[in-house]
Symmetry: C2
Subunit: 522 residues, 2 copies
């Protein structure tokens, strides 16, 4: 296409594209806009190196003119302007997440990279936001999907935008290092099963938490506590697996202040839990408080209840009140439905780790964003096609969010760029998309949705930090009505066209196949 | 975990992990092993830089011993040994795609990266192989999913392993440049709609294909041909969109030898097709043969039939026989079901572009690979857990593919590393997984499945090229029976354990929670 534009003398024509989606993901009423930070990084660095151009020359027809390759070598985004929704903003079908204008050849080349950088980022942020809505504001949500992502960079994108969408932390350390996502981890079954129980730690001594007083041999104290715990629970002292216990001791020696136990490598009730309690109580003697346990198989809700009961009776038995409330973390293929069960009233689950169903979005693994030409040389362009669904909205546009006096969302309005913005408190007539009739409304507040981020290649203002965008997302979502937030069959948020935009669409549609564009120019 | 192992003095213990999956993806009977080339590249480069270690220090407890960080700084994979299935090999549940052995701390750290590099690669290669089975060997399959991938590197993985799995080419130019995947592209609707018809190409003259004879003004010749085509088709000459026609002219000027038309920007029958024919016939005058058309909306099978009919009558009318058989390419959310329809007998579709449903694997967007400890210090390890499904197969193992005399697959056999390999022609007794009884068989051929690729950090032999692995995949799949290749409810390929391995599993299971590992050592 680049060669076609260049050969037609159109490389420098001014063009405008919009990036949007046609249907909300997961059957919901919204998506969260995300990926802008990656787009801006990409635009800043966009250049074809000599080796890139050489490769292109090797796959293009051999008689391609050398001047075209010289043009490619000189390309950059210094002529590109980008308006975009803020990251974390709820966005509805047809509203542009990005508006990209500049020389036709360059902005066309940007199609695939921008779609690639926005689509999945927005999809996974939306998925995270839905999971956050289900979990409620208090439970801790941990993203742990790197191993299920499309390679390491897919994983980095997933971790970054899951956090933006409302997760608390990620097990992906690189996302912490490069993107500032809080990292949190745990131990795996392999850590537990790697111990047989015969191992001797080179330094088994642990100093008290305060630093005052003599260190104790942790493994020895654990054996003492194991007897007491088994007696309390009515278990034989040989039942809990010694390898699992030694693994817990090793973990406690490494992390005495944040000790946690993975309970289900052998048997939760007869091994994992008593071993955890023995180690936690031995640590307690030294003034350390264990942080919690994790369950990774079976009926997680039911087991969490049983584990909590044992924690409570044990805390009472040995008079260590903090033990009652250590956190119970769960994981194992948790999806929206299972999360709703785990987050139900009375659940004892505190922390929920989600990997596969967060990162791969199995309910709908692509958002279906498109990048469509809306104007060239200042003239509107429209793809008609026979699928009404795939028709585009022509012309250079602006977008506003119209709010009621209580701050709740009325609708998003798309209008032509040359129209004056709607006025707060002033009645206006709009055409809701898909409706046959217009309607009037009087917004109490009007917010412009599209912000200028890059003008002629220059960044206009710094992006908010990831944590700021995350907070903005939570705040913006709170302005949707409860009915918009239903996860199944929600009320849809309306998007409407201004009268002028509606008239332009009607005119282009009616003209159909007749010399559409010339007439527009006149 | 690394800190835990290190603190317990176990960083250098020899450990062995296996990477495998528990269920075939997409309800099929096989997966294709893939991702090994990325794993080997990763292992060769694996190092923690100072900045990495500094970041780790910032998120670990502040009193973590400095010697641990010194250990991390010195880490590499020089002690790691890898056995693996060849890329492109069909693989069944429980058979290791990778066996990784080396110092416990390092091989544990490799868990997530290796899972990340193998899981999605194998999933998308399998998806591609299934789509190839449906399409048959002759139709051309084009991967075009970059925009739906998890960021640019997700896209690179997708393009690479879609090719390995049986696709012919990719629209991802970087996959061509970095991985040698054949690239193929097309034009987008925006290219078409960016033209109004009033544009004047700076150089409208096109020389004949042979280079002999005077150049012609292509746009003028196209207008002449348009009249003839419209008369033949019974259309008004003003009906085909002039902007679309000018776009085709621009594309033809850029690519006279590989001209193709995207037909559905306005209306296939009344605009796209007559415009394409006018340009193709004008090119024909100059000795160029157009390569084909693309359809991207509506009923693709039906439209392909109609387009072929028009190509045929037009070819006959103007006596240009090659026009009959130009290729018809289709795209637009094609999944397995739609592909089967498009590939049915009598279909006129030649080229099929698949993006979303190839790259995102919506039927099952993750393979669910796991990486499990099977031995430490030469002693077998087994995760018991209460989900029988999640129990592991203990011990250092080898694997063989047993074949009948006609080369068809009998079963894959897992046995302990110390056992002698099965002999061709010799009867042996095995335990099919999940069966309650053993069985005997007499394989005509025995092939070792796991090959040594990396020994103590050194690559033992170069990997096959991507194209070689692709050919190997097609050849290996041809040894499965037709019933194994059914896409729905196929016959499953058996995996069996040797008698010794079965006995070890039974012993560890029976011992259950009783001091498993010590007794094994004795």
């Amino acid at each position: 296409m680049a060669l076609g534009y260049w050969r037609a003398g159109r490389a420098q024509d001014t063009a405008e594209f919009e990036l949007f989606f046609r249907r909300c993901p997961f059957g919901g009423s919204f998506a969260l806009a995300a990926g802008l930070r990656d787009c801006l990084r990409f635009l800043r660095a966009f250049r074809l190196r000599d080796t890139d151009v050489q490769f292109l020359a090797s796959v293009l027809p051999p008689d391609t003119e050398p001047a075209f390759f010289a043009h490619l070598r000189a390309l950059d985004c210094s002529g590109v302007t980008v308006r975009a929704l803020r990251e974390g903003s709820p966005v509805f079908p047809g509203v542009p997440l990005l508006q990209v204008s500049g020389p036709l050849l360059v902005v066309q080349l940007l199609e695939t990279p921008l779609l690639c950088l926005v689509s999945y980022a927005s999809l996974v942020a939306t998925n995270a936001a839905r999971l956050r809505l289900i979990a409620g504001p208090k439970r801790r949500l941990l993203e742990m999907g790197l191993r299920r992502a499309q390679g390491p960079d897919g994983g980095l994108t997933a971790s970054t935008y899951s956090y933006l969408g409302g997760f608390d932390s990620s097990s992906n350390v690189l996302a912490g290092q490069l993107r500032g996502v809080p990292v949190a981890g745990t131990l795996a079954h392999s850590f537990v099963t790697s111990f047989s129980g015969t191992e001797v730690p080179p330094d088994p001594m642990l100093a008290p938490a305060t630093g005052e007083g003599p260190p104790l041999d942790l493994a020895t104290r654990v054996e003492v506590w194991l007897k007491r715990v088994c007696a309390h629970l009515g278990l034989g002292v040989q039942e809990p697996h010694p390898g699992e216990r030694m693994a817990f001791v090793a973990y406690a020696l490494a992390f005495p202040r944040v000790f946690q136990g993975l309970l289900d490598s052998y048997c939760v009730q007869r091994s994992g839990l008593p071993n955890f309690l023995a180690v936690a109580l031995a640590l307690g003697e030294l003034g350390y408080q264990a942080v919690g346990v994790r369950l990774d198989s079976g009926d997680l809700l039911q087991q969490a209840r049983e584990v909590r009961r044992v924690l409570q009776t044990t805390a009472a038995q040995f008079q260590v009140p903090w033990l009652e409330t250590v956190s119970i973390a769960v994981s194992n293929n948790i999806d929206e439905e299972e999360l709703a069960r785990l987050a139900q009233e009375g659940s004892e689950v505190d922390v929920i780790g989600i990997g596969t169903s967060l990162v791969t979005c199995p309910q709908q693994p692509s958002l279906g964003c498109v990048y469509k030409l809306v104007a060239v040389g200042g003239q509107p362009r429209m793809k008609l096609t026979e699928d009404a669904d795939k028709q585009t909205l022509p012309g250079s546009k602006t977008a506003f969010r119209l709010l009621a006096s209580d701050g709740s969302l009325l609708l998003d309005l798309l209008q032509l760029a040359e129209e004056p913005p709607p006025q707060a408190g002033r009645e206006l007539r709009v055409w809701p998309r898909g409706a046959k009739e217009s309607m009037t409304l009087r917004p109490a507040h009007v917010e412009p949705l599209l912000q200028l981020w890059v003008q002629q290649g220059q960044l206009c203002e710094p992006l908010p930090s990831l944590a700021e965008s995350r907070a903005f997302a939570q705040q913006s979502l709170s302005r949707l009505s409860p009915a918009h937030m239903w996860l199944k069959s929600p009320e849809m948020c309306q998007v409407a066209l201004s009268e002028q935009l509606q008239a332009l669409v009607e005119r282009l549609r009616a003209q159909g196949l007749q010399r559409v564009s010339q007439e527009l120019g006149s």
